[in-house]
């Protein structure tokens, strides 16, 4: 029964690794359901990570860091909205601009402020989020099954992990059970229908982008003030793109997007676990090959494994009222 703790630790890492993906996918869901492509999740996550780390360092509180990260990401989302909603610019170009700008800006600012290219100072325990041990963890540890699930899998995560899994049902509820959600979905499918129903299309898209900014900030803060104790260059490492991929083959639906995020998180956890491990009959798999697993999986899944993903009908099209 030596395999059981292994599985438990694998699931535990899956939950943790999936967290930024889930926030980013939910953030993307709001933008894209409203008809605005969000390719810029990557850049915004990077910005959030940087601002959260710097904010926590200066003000001594990770919460203040998080709030600043939210302000930064909402501002970037508004910038994206200003370019692509108000001025009807190309949404992908606007996102790419944000992504490129953020890679450069975070590195340059870190160099200017802290003298280290792309690094912020290490945060003390007071300046970052710590792992939360759930109550009764020790008491329940020895109970069979429940003990492993509760103490080894569910307990001991950063606050963002719990928030991420709480966020998915809330997103589902907002998108499918409220009038805001109805309007959100409508504006991404047929903005003219929304306009003729007397709702401002632009305001709706800005609202969606605002929520998008808040959610993506959580992903970034998780990276730099929880799992790590500083910001480092390009620390988002493609998670924004991965989240977007998860959103797409989750068919823009919170539940399936969650599953996709977990799948990515699992392959990532697996590759970490498999590194240097000698497998029976196969031997040691080269690290590079293992690290490629999540990306190969993305390509395979996107190449039609999950069937045709039907995007919101009006995605990527700026709304033009007059001819």
């Amino acid at each position: 029964m030596e395999i059981l703790p292994d599985i438990a630790s694998l699931i535990n890492s899956t939950l943790r690794i999936s967290t930024p993906l889930i926030f980013a996918a939910m953030a993307g869901l709001f933008a894209e359901r409203s008809g605005v492509i969000d390719f810029g999740l990557e850049g915004k996550m990077l910005a959030a990570a940087f601002v959260a780390a710097v904010g926590s360092y200066y003000f001594g509180s990770p919460w203040l860091g998080l709030i600043l990260a939210i302000i930064a990401c909402v501002s970037l989302s508004m910038l994206h909205g200003f370019a692509s909603v108000t001025h009807k610019g190309d949404q992908v170009v606007s996102c790419v601009a944000i992504n490129i700008l953020m890679i450069g800006l975070t590195t340059a600012l870190a160099a200017a402020w802290f003298g280290q290219a792309g690094l912020t100072p290490t945060l003390t325990d007071e300046q970052r989020f710590l792992e939360i041990t759930l109550p009764f963890t020790d008491v329940l540890r020895d109970v069979p099954v429940v003990g492993i699930i509760y103490s080894d899998i569910l307990s001991g995560h950063y606050i963002f992990v719990y928030l991420a899994y709480l966020c998915v049902p809330i997103v589902f509820w907002i998108v499918f059970k409220t009038s805001f959600g109805l309007r959100l979905r409508a504006v991404g499918e047929n903005p003219s229908a929304v306009d003729t129903a007397g709702i401002n299309v632009f305001t709706m898209r800005y609202k969606a982008l605002m929520i998008n900014g808040v959610l993506i900030a959580f992903a970034g803060a998780h990276l730099s003030t929880a799992v790590n104790a500083n910001f480092f260059r390009e620390m988002s490492a493609g998670r924004g793109y991965l989240a977007l991929a998860a959103l797409i083959f989750g068919k823009w639906h919170p539940k399936t997007a969650l599953i996709a995020c977990l799948l990515f998180g699992f392959t990532d956890a697996l590759q970490i676990r498999l590194q240097g491990v000698e497998l029976p009959a196969i031997g040691t798999i080269p690290v590079q090959l293992i690290q490629a697993i999540p990306y190969v999986l993305t390509v395979v899944l996107l190449a039609g494994f999950v069937g045709k993903a039907i995007a919101p009908n009006a995605i990527g099209q700026p709304y033009v009222k007059e001819r």
Partner: protein
């Protein structure tokens, strides 16, 4: 005197340099069905979009029941009791009927009591007006006729007193039109006011009590429907007298020129859209193909003109097999064999709209003399030729150097027709020759097609306009769900009979 329920005073609206509405004055009385008629581009839809708050007028005022109101957005109009059924429905296709109707008027953040109440209210409205709509069905599963009813129900639910319908019958079968008219009449009986925008004279005569005519952005006439007739209205619309009946003699049938045997065709999504179709066309004959949009006519036309693969079956031209599953002549080879094609979607397939008119006029023949020699275009000859055919086909303005997209729909169509007819084809495939074309131009185009027939061409006419099929064809096929479901000789057919076939009922 009672003030009119809707009154427009001196409305002006420009888009760039184009003045779409000029000093429009209009009074609409409560409880009437008021027709607004005019050619495409006369400014009807723009005017109604202003009334619905989608566009803002540059100047002028709008009053409802004598009280002037400001309409800054559709919300203002809806709250003033104006409802609009747009030409292209404003529905979210993957939403249910209920979701579409409450959109924007949910009344609560979290769905619950209000939604239940809305559902009950809507059921009552459906019963009152006999709309027969299932509120839980998804829009994409509904037929066009039902989608339109959803739009009407939507306006009713929002408390509309004035209903504006923009070209409501363009996409309906005759039976659906009957149903729609019944609904409109019952709305009128309940005291609602209806504004009907159309370019179809029959509808005006059938339904309205008053009619206003628009031409080139202005209201050029206003009359009680009983005081006018179709000829007078057409004359007002076009600005000159129009021949509504075609000069058409009995067809002189020749040999079979074109034959289609067991033809099946798939669309881009690999769905079989044309199913085992058989027909032939003789020289000197116009064969009309009627049907509601999307029943396989497009794919059939594309296969016959060599731009879509044949799945099975054969196509013969003058007893020579030209296409089957393994072999498809391309449009160029077909052209050389005397087949011409006027495609359904003229903007996408018939023209390069960014090119100049003279370039479009010779496209497909540009590498032949006299248009080019040794692969070099001879602009002088092309221009003089272009001027000649533009005159002959009444393309206005006669400016071969003008960019094609600046011509009106009717004139664009004439450019295509002159190009295709000028080579005297033996077989002519025509799709929707008068879609979006003005009455004046329709008359001209129809006469040209008849002339071609009398010169011995075999013509296949595909059209969703039943009137057009009826007035031009010698023989009529009806297509439904990829099958030819009926064949009629034009002399002994009624539009009711055809309508039932088109709906797949008969």
């Amino acid at each position: 005197m009672v003030s009119p329920i809707l009154e427009l005073k001196d409305i002006n609206k420009s888009f760039g340099h184009v003045q779409a509405n000029k000093n429009i004055n209009l009074k609409i009385n409560k409880g009437t069905i008021h027709g607004i008629i005019g050619e495409n581009g006369a400014g009807k839809s723009t005017l109604m979009s202003i009334v619905y708050g989608l566009y803002q007028a540059d100047s002028g005022s709008i009053s409802i029941s004598g009280k002037e109101i400001k309409l800054r957005s559709p919300r203002d109009s809806i709250e003033s009791g104006i409802g609009m059924v747009h030409q292209h429905f404003m529905l979210v296709e993957n939403f249910t009927v209920l979701e579409n109707i409450v959109l924007g008027f949910e009344g609560e953040f979290v769905f619950g009591q209000k939604l239940k109440k809305a559902k009950e209210d809507l059921k009552n409205l459906c019963d009152t007006y006999k709309l027969n709509i299932d509120l839980d069905s998804v829009i994409s599963d509904l037929s066009v006729g039902f989608r339109q009813r959803v739009e009407i129900l939507k306006s009713l639910y929002r408390g509309a007193e004035i209903f504006i319908l923009d070209e409501p019958t363009g996409v309906l079968t005759p039976q659906e039109v009957d149903e729609l008219f019944k609904i409109l009449r019952s709305l009128k009986e309940e005291g609602k006011t209806i504004v009907l925008i159309t370019h179809k004279l029959n509808e005006i005569m059938d339904l309205t009590s008053e009619v206003s005519v628009m031409r080139q952005g202005e209201v050029v006439g206003h009359t009680k429907t009983t005081d006018t007739d179709k000829e007078k209205l057409a004359e007002m619309m076009v600005g000159r007298s129009v021949l509504l009946r075609l000069n058409k003699s009995e067809a002189k049938l020749g040999d079979v020129m074109f034959k289609v045997k067991n033809l099946s065709v798939k669309d881009d999504l690999d769905v079989t859209r044309v199913k085992n179709v058989n027909f032939e066309i003789r020289s000197g004959e116009i064969l009309g193909l009627a049907g509601v949009t999307g029943n396989g006519q497009t794919e059939l036309l594309e296969a016959l003109s060599g731009i879509r693969k044949v799945e099975s079956g054969e196509i013969y031209l003058n007893d020579e097999k030209i296409s089957d599953k393994d072999n498809l002549l391309d449009p160029r080879e077909l052209k050389e064999k005397g087949l011409a094609h006027v495609p359904e979607d003229r903007q996408r397939m018939g023209l390069v709209t960014d090119f100049k008119a003279y370039e479009n006029l010779i496209f497909g023949y540009h590498d032949q003399e006299p248009y080019s020699k040794s692969s070099i275009l001879r602009d002088g000859d092309i221009l003089s030729f272009s001027r000649k055919v533009m005159e002959e086909y009444d393309v206005r303005p006669i400016s071969p150097q003008l960019i094609t997209s600046n011509f009106s729909g009717g004139n664009q169509q004439k450019i295509i027709l002159s190009r295709e007819l000028n080579e005297n084809p033996k077989i002519l495939l025509v799709g929707q020759p008068t879609r979006g074309v003005d009455i004046g131009a329709i008359e001209f185009i129809h006469q040209r097609l008849i002339d071609m027939r009398d010169k011995g061409a075999a013509i296949l006419l595909v059209s969703v306009e039943l009137d057009e099929v009826l007035s031009l064809s010698d023989r009529i096929l009806v297509m439904f769900d990829g099958n030819i479901v009926g064949e009629r000789v034009n002399k002994d057919v009624t539009d009711r009979d055809l309508g039932l076939l088109m709906a797949g009922v008969a």
